[in-house]
Symmetry: C2
């Protein structure tokens, strides 16, 4: 087994921070690489094919299908969900980030937040209305929208309540999916809302819009016109194909960087108004209650944030040696500028590699080389975005905001690695 060999590898020159964080150059050394995996074997195979011919090579494989699915061996790669008592479609589902890699979330695993289930919308009957303080009200069919100029945008969407367990006094014994699974990223394509508003002719008195969904909850949010003119899309496509029912089929509002439920799904109506409408979804929910009992309302951008997805709880480390620490970072303010990693609970930090392309308001994959020495380790990631916003520690977040809210939790998430390789959620 390769592990024994790893003891002799000289890697000190590559150490970049405490408890085994290494420069990525270490992986370019063949010697270090042989230590990376404990299970490498060296069969005596100079002459021929060293592998048995497996059963699946002996008969023709499966036929074509019109729309493909994942391997059945991957059926644990699934969303988990919690629903309100007595309901089946009201609640949230979470993306299994510990089992994924890259920046794109496949459509079948995009997180969901539904307020009254997923409506079964007939696209031929669906309409988008723009009305209120406009020169002329407009109604669009999907066919009509499809003739407009489109724009594509790789963007994350994060539920305002994602990461809320960090407000709890004791560290919840869950993994990255339950902790931080209400954020996903897709390539969205649609029509710029600004173009449609220009066509309707905006009354100068209009300063806000109301966006309303066609679900049974009539989920609706108010948004300031000035803030959304630049980026808002009427999204028709998600990762190439039409938006999934769970994500707003046939159309959703996409507001890159903004709180998840402002990206109104099943969009049916944009009404231009003088002020916010004060819907149930922005008064009874999605406000940040501060320690003094007052609430912050209309907190639009999801703040800069990151989380390590591997290693993480449930992915037990089998033996000491080389690993890659990887995870996701994002900011509703812009691009990720830097992600730092600590393996010693925040005593020392080193910058991770950021996977190109690094895009504004999209998930950014980060990677860091690590040699786990088999001792206890405390893993953290800390994101900084291009406006200089730094992801806070949990301590700082709670000092600033208290813990009376469940929203906009963007503090550092900490994974503790024990000597047996088990990974747990801890507070550092």
């Amino acid at each position: 087994m390769g592990h024994r060999k790893s003891k002799g590898v000289t890697i000190d020159a590559d150490v970049v921070a405490g408890n085994g964080l290494l420069d990525r150059r270490v992986f370019l050394s063949g010697a270090a690489m042989s230590a990376a995996t404990g299970g490498i074997t060296f069969p005596d195979t100079a002459a021929g094919d060293p592998l048995p011919v497996e059963s699946w090579m002996k008969t023709p494989g499966a036929p074509f299908v019109p729309y493909g699915q994942p391997s059945e061996y991957e059926n644990k790669v699934a969303r988990t969900f919690t629903t309100a008592p007595g309901t089946t479609g009201t609640g949230a589902s979470r993306t299994p980030h510990h089992l994924l890699d890259g920046m794109i979330t496949p459509n079948g695993l995009h997180f969901e937040r539904h307020h009254s289930g997923i409506p079964d919308i007939n696209p031929d009957a669906h309409r988008l209305v723009i009305h209120g303080l406009v020169k002329r009200s407009l109604v669009f069919t999907l066919d009509e929208l499809t003739r407009y100029p489109m724009e594509s945008r790789i963007a994350f969407i994060e539920c305002g309540g994602n990461g809320q367990l960090l407000y709890q006094k004791e560290p919840a014994q869950v993994g990255v999916q339950q902790m931080q699974g209400q954020v996903s990223c897709a390539e969205w394509t649609g029509v710029k809302l600004a173009a449609l508003l220009q066509e309707a002719g905006v009354d100068p008195k209009a300063k806000w819009i109301l966006a309303e969904g066609a679900d049974a909850a009539g989920m609706s949010r108010s948004l300031p016109l000035a803030e959304i003119m630049q980026d808002a899309l009427i999204a028709l496509y998600q990762n190439g194909e039409r938006v999934r029912p769970a994500n707003g089929y046939p159309i959703r509002l996409l507001l890159p960087g903004f709180e998840g439920n402002m990206n109104v799904k099943w969009l049916r109506r944009i009404k231009l108004t003088e002020g916010p409408t004060m819907t149930k979804d922005e008064t009874s929910k999605y406000t940040i209650t501060m320690p003094d009992g007052k609430s912050l309302q209309f907190v639009f951008a999801q703040e800069g944030k990151s989380v390590i997805t591997r290693p993480s709880p449930g992915l037990t480390m089998k033996e000491p040696g080389f690993y890659e620490i990887t995870g996701l970072a994002w900011s509703g303010y812009g691009k990720i500028a830097k992600v730092e990693i600590s393996a010693d609970g925040g005593k020392s930090w080193a910058p991770a590699a950021l996977q190109e392309p690094v895009l504004s308001k999209a998930l950014t994959r980060f990677r860091m080389a690590w040699r786990w020495n088999g001792g206890p380790a405390v893993l953290q990631s800390r994101a900084t975005d291009d406006i200089g916003y730094v992801q806070p520690t949990r301590e700082k977040m709670i000092a600033d905001r208290g813990s009376r809210t469940i929203y906009h939790s963007n503090a550092v998430t900490t994974w503790g690695v024990s000597e047996n390789g088990e990974v747990k959620h801890v507070y550092a």
Copy 2:
């Protein structure tokens, strides 16, 4: 109806090429926009909600599911496939690009080319062997590969036979899916092959590799080591989740820009050799037979290319007015630098907008504003990449290569629009 109004819109200043091609600024004019869709109605709705409350708003919607699917209303958005006589899994399936938008192909719609069906591989039993001219042979389990440093890459894969109908004497009466559907694009994540080879220790005599798949065809290709060290990935993830069975589960070789079947699926073996192995898949197939009967072997890169996906056959245009012309461009040599559009069969051209991010060896979405005047039109796109390679006309491709081959057809595809709005494949 808005169409009548469009007659009065002054747009001459925005004309950029013949037969109605327009600068994209035209879409920023409210007046022009109102002409973009013929079906806009102007309900008298100043006061209230102008839409009926649809049935799906009156009862709670569908519950959560672990892995989501597209709307049932979208079941025509599917791959079409052709199989060899007497088989169900040997042939090719094609991506329905006329019904998609953006650059990412969703995993369920990625094109396929199988030589003996899709093997049902147990990932725990699967091994990757590196052997031949190396210091030490290596065998990897999937668990071991997962500990190595990963890299993500958004890349197209195109079958060497994509577009082959352009070699036919008469224009095939099919659409973009049948003509050009054997190209797709995904975010692939995996381990750099160079890192694994470095660990194995490459014998200086080794100049080529053999890459072999674990399907019943044992599909295998030879590749020159120098050409693949930079980019080759052992891909484990496709758009975030594990590679789909149809695309090589549990691992495939990714060679951005190279002929599709060199990206060996179900990868089981990399053997380092002095020269090419001359497998059946690079002698009996995937060679370009020239007019003199000699064949070009080992043509690695897919050349620069583009195709208009909308409008295209099957997407009949209902009335004159404003449309967006959109499509995809790609080059195995690098980034797309320019896509030009003609609406008059190549007499005049204007540059399309390229959707950012424009990535090397990835699909690039292009967009162009067009006012269709209701007369005949001949639509073409022509890609230029960043090494200056220009996509050839069909005439030039056939002058250079003859028409004895079916491979590497990258000529301009032409859509003819007739007065009734029907779109057909034509030769211009």
